[in-house]
């Protein structure tokens, strides 16, 4: 079952990646990146059990943390850029 789950997660990662390529809006990309990050956390956890050394779950925890920080950072940046667009329309 672990093998099946690993393969499923790999497939899901590939699908999320293609959504990140296609877009079309920036929110699609963020959503895809978020999904991708969660799947990475799960993959690390499952692979740890699959290879028989599950004590490295600290890494999965870091992934979860970094994923959250990344999403928050992206959203804040978009807010800055929107603010920019409103205050100076001739910016670009």
């Amino acid at each position: 079952m672990l093998t099946v789950t690993t393969i499923t997660l790999l497939v899901v990662m590939a699908m999320a990646l293609s959504r990140a390529f296609v877009g079309p809006t920036v929110f699609d990309r963020i959503l895809a990146a978020n999904v991708f990050g969660t799947k990475t956390v799960l993959l690390i956890a499952v692979v740890g059990f699959l290879f028989g050394r599950p004590e490295f779950l600290d890494i999965a925890l870091v992934y979860a943390l970094i994923n959250f920080i990344g999403v928050v950072g992206m959203l804040r940046l978009i807010e800055y850029l929107e603010e920019d667009k409103q205050s100076t329309e001739d910016g670009r």
Binding site: M1, L2, V4, T5, T8, L9, V11, V12, M15, A16, S18, R19, V22, P24, T25, V26, F27, D28, I30, L31, A32, N34, V35, T38, K39, V41, L42, A45, V46, F49, P54, E55, L57, D58, A60, L61, A64, L65, N67, F68, V71, V72, L75, I78, E79, E82
Partner: protein, 112 residues
């Protein structure tokens, strides 16, 4: 197979199914909000199912504690991220697709 392994296998199967269905939704749904709906819900529930499945494999060890910590963390951050994302998309003026006949995928173009 011991009963614990069977429970874990069932949970892993449920988790895999949820995760996969969420990804299909992410790929196939027509606009940002419906994609968010597909991904946001299955993301958290699928993660919970898979991590629970792993917990039954881990037994009473430090690994179990770490799995619980990951689970708590995902339960806190996953819905928060989805909520914030939806809010940001709404605030940026992106309209949800209400008419099913528009071509898929291009609905959000105007807001970028």
């Amino acid at each position: 197979m011991s009963p614990l392994e069977i429970i874990s296998a069932v949970l892993l199967a449920i988790g895999s199914f949820l995760v996969l269905s969420g990804a299909i939704g992410l790929l196939r749904f027509p606009d940002v909000y419906s994609r968010m709906h597909a991904a946001g819900i299955t993301d958290t529930l699928g993660a919970v199912a898979i991590l629970l499945g792993l917990m039954f494999l881990a037994g009473w060890t430090l690994v179990l504690a770490k799995l619980i910590m990951i689970l708590l963390f995902l339960l806190l951050t996953g819905p928060t991220a989805s909520h914030t994302l939806g809010k940001a998309a709404w605030k940026s003026g992106l309209q949800p697709l209400t008419d099913g006949r528009e071509p898929a995928g291009d609905s959000g173009k105007g807001a970028e």
